[in-house]
């Protein structure tokens, strides 16, 4: 019985939160990686694109709520996703047209594009705050839990409960669908193949008649879609606050780099590596060990490697270590 209690504890506090947070990071990192491989710059504004997507979803959600449309027990925000994806994609394309395309045509250094993306970050952050305000908003209006801790305890007669939030399960399901779609698109369709060819060897692909404008368009469409969904899911899971998306940029970059920049599979793996190591390193193992070893052997401390205050710092730490030891990442990616 104690063994199962320990397993439940780990599942409840590490596995499920890690999975859902990892999915959100993976979606973000996939977008960053795609932009990097095809357009060859680090897009610091990606967090703001996510925030923009979430904001549009919230505005649409309010409109739908005022019309009385709801899909209870699912949160209303799920059904507005297709529309907000389209709006986010248009926003990305506009930004690309007015900010990035000029430097792409001039073959500027990637650092210049990086600085441009910081300008875009400032601008979109201000725009978002101007439209929706800087406040914290809870946007989950559906059922909160898919499985309540109490029900689980009763069902299996355990001390520890297992709770699965609706937002977590939605995150995992939607990520699965989206990632499958993106991989199918990249590997099986002709457009996807032309995109990969373009990123592998630009000159050769241009020679073989691939239209660069079309590749850029497709990349922004996929990135906008990923950013919008990732931002909305993150807001649904935690809560929506424009400021938090600024702080999300670094963990996303960490995921992309840890996995290997330019490698879509790497981005996904990197997302989970970052998410799980954040949680595993800052988890207090005292209660977990309490189930497994006799009480008199139990040490006094919380058995925590680093305090929870350092949660996000862990991802930066991993980022820095990976950059120094193996800059190509887990799956051999490109060197920036």
């Amino acid at each position: 019985m104690d063994f199962w209690n320990a397993i439940t504890l780990i599942t409840n506090y590490i596995l499920i939160p890690g999975l859902s947070y990892g999915c959100q990071l993976a979606l973000g990192a996939l977008g960053v990686t795609l932009i990097y491989t095809v357009l060859r710059f680090s897009n610091f504004a990606h967090g703001e694109f996510m925030s923009f997507g979430a904001m549009v979803s919230i505005l649409l959600m309010w409109y739908f709520q005022s019309l009385g449309i709801s899909v209870y027990p699912l949160p209303t925000i799920i059904i507005v996703l297709p529309i907000s994806i389209i709006i986010t994609i248009s926003f990305c394309l506009l930004i690309d047209k007015f900010c990035y395309s000029f430097y792409r045509k001039n073959n500027s250094q990637s650092v210049i594009l990086l600085i441009v993306s910081i300008g875009v970050m400032f601008f979109s952050n201000g725009l978002i705050r101007l439209i929706i305000g800087p406040d914290d908003r809870n946007i989950n209006d559906g059922e909160r839990f898919l499985l309540k801790a109490k029900t689980f305890k009763k069902m299996f007669e355990l001390n520890e409960g297992l709770a699965i939030k609706m937002s977590q399960s939605l995150t995992i399901i939607i990520t699965l669908i989206l990632v499958t779609f993106v991989f199918w698109f990249l590997n099986k369709t002709k457009t996807g193949k032309s995109m990969r060819a373009y990123s592998d060897n630009k000159d050769l692909s241009l020679l073989s008649g691939i239209n660069p404008e079309k590749v850029v368009l497709i990349v922004w469409i996929i990135t906008g879609m990923l950013a919008c969904v990732a931002g909305t899911l993150y807001g649904l899971d935690k809560s929506y606050k424009p400021f938090t998306y600024l702080n999300l940029v670094l963990p996303i970059f960490a995921s992309a780099i840890v996995g290997g920049v330019g490698n879509p599979i790497g981005a996904i793996i990197g997302g989970f590596v970052i998410a799980f190591s954040e949680i595993i390193i800052t988890f207090a193992y005292r209660r977990f060990l309490g189930y497994l070893i006799p009480e008199n052997f139990l040490p006094e401390t919380l058995m925590q490697v680093l305090s929870t205050d350092y949660k996000i710092a862990v991802s930066f730490l991993i980022l820095v270590i990976v950059l120094i030891i193996k800059p190509t990442g887990i799956y051999k990616g490109k060197l920036i």
């Binding site: 990086l114 970050m121 601008f123 201000g126 705050r129 305000g133 600024l246 350092y310 920036i336």
Partner: protein, 439 residues
């Protein structure tokens, strides 16, 4: 040559007039407050400029160095808390020394097992973990003791009770030391990676400062730092000032605070001038020419026998030290150390905007950028309000949209900064004051 000089005089004069205008239209207090932070921003942008403009190093870690400078103010100027030191201060020091010894050993092992990667990782990771555990075992109880001692008042080790002005050079040295360590490990990376790595490291530094309460009091803040200039209250009781204000019929409260601000300004201006002259001499020297050669073509500079890696490290250390000094100055001006107030947007990216808008690669441009961008960062709120009022003047007074926009006018600041950067990059990529071609 003359065109360059004219432009400098013109733009600096424009900046001076802007500050005068604020003095006449708003108040002299506001104008001087802006001026003080303008000077500090100018010093920070000089620091970034020597890294990016002169040598092409992308350092996104300005926030971390500024925070370290602020920390130095606390460590130098606050009174010693003897009882806390006896409670556990020495134990913490011991733990830190032990940790560094273990890091040194790990480093040696890493180098020793060059040819067997498996052994290398196994031994160095396990030695590092043992070191980490030992440190935690010794330090944790001591830290708990320190933090629980009168936690509302102290709860940290305090400083060494020296005049706060000493913290500026010490902050420079401290930031230089940290920059040396960071540069040693990170400077091998290329542009984008270096940007992300320095940004990450500066966040780690900030997390450390926020959470290690025994050293910094963390988010509880350190208030009441001593000042290098007299207090307003003391000034208000001096005879000559009372007489002066009575003669000219001025408010003594306003005059005293203006005097205090002027005292700060002169201190800051002196520092700015010293650093500026130093940078000008440096960039005119053979060393400066070499740095520009490395920036413009790393490979050929390398082929000419220049040690690129070493030069990069040098310039990274110098620039970061300058940012550390500016950070200490800012904390001195505030009179308090608030770790939660450090954000990358304000302390890293804004400084970058200053350098790029002002003109990277030349010191006059960097200083101008610091002044101009800080001025608009502060003044964009009234300006943004004015723009929104103008744009919505056709709407009804009680229209929802107008009220919403007026309420959120404060966020115009970010939009305007973003637009400024984007427009500058597009239409004046060399900045307001261009770098001169030196032959």
């Amino acid at each position: 040559m003359n065109k360059h000089k004219n432009r400098i005089i013109l733009t600096y004069g424009f900046m001076f007039i802007l500050l005068l205008l604020v003095g006449f239209l708003q108040s002299w207090n506001v104008s001087l407050a802006i001026l003080n932070l303008c000077i500090i921003s100018a010093i920070m942008s000089l620091g970034i400029n020597i890294q990016w403009g002169n040598s092409g190093i992308v350092n996104f870690g300005a926030m971390g160095f500024a925070a370290l400078g602020g920390l130095c103010c606390v460590l130098v100027s606050m009174p010693i808390t003897n009882s806390v030191w006896q409670l556990g201060g020495f134990k913490v020091l011991l733990a830190i020394v032990i940790f560094f010894i273990f890091i040194f050993i790990t480093n040696r092992i890493w180098k020793f097992f060059k040819h067997s990667p498996k052994k290398r990782i196994f031994y160095s990771v396990s030695i590092f973990l043992i070191g980490f555990m030992t440190m935690r075992l010794i330090a944790d109880p001591a830290i708990q003791n320190i933090e629980s001692f009168e936690s509302a008042k102290t709860g940290y080790l305090g400083g060494v009770n020296l005049p706060i002005i000493f913290s500026w050079p010490i902050a420079g040295l401290f930031a230089a030391f940290v920059a040396f360590l960071i540069g040693k490990i990170a400077l091998g990376l290329r542009s984008d990676y270096l940007a992300i790595a320095t940004l990450g490291i500066s966040e780690i530094v900030l997390y450390f400062i926020k959470n290690e309460d025994w050293l910094t009091r963390g988010v509880k803040n350190v208030n009441g730092l001593p000042r290098p200039v007299p207090y307003e209250i003391d000034l208000q009781n001096t005879d000559w000032l009372i007489k002066l204000t009575e003669n000219y019929d001025l408010s003594i409260i306003v005059v005293s605070s203006i005097i205090v601000k002027l005292a700060y300004s002169s201190l800051f201006l002196l520092t700015l001038i010293i650093i500026f002259i130093f940078f000008e001499t440096v960039s005119k020297s053979p060393w400066g020419r070499m740095m520009r050669a490395i920036r413009d073509n790393e490979i050929s500079a390398n082929a000419m026998g220049k040690d690129v890696k070493k030069r990069h490290l040098q310039v990274f250390v110098i620039g970061s030290a300058i940012i550390g000094i500016a950070g200490a100055m800012m904390t001195t001006l505030d009179g308090q150390f608030t770790p939660a107030s450090y954000q990358p947007i304000r302390y890293t990216f804004l400084i970058w905007i200053m350098v790029i808008v002002g003109g990277s690669g030349n010191n006059y441009g960097a200083v101008l950028g610091g002044f101009l961008i800080w001025f608009f960062w502060v003044e964009s709120e009234p300006l943004g309000l004015w723009i929104i009022e103008f744009c919505t003047s056709l709407l009804d007074d009680d229209s929802l949209l107008k009220n919403h926009l007026l309420e959120s006018a404060a966020h115009m600041r970010l939009i305007m900064m973003g637009l400024t950067l984007l427009l500058a990059l597009r239409f004046a990529p060399k900045g307001i004051i261009e770098e001169q071609k030196r032959i």
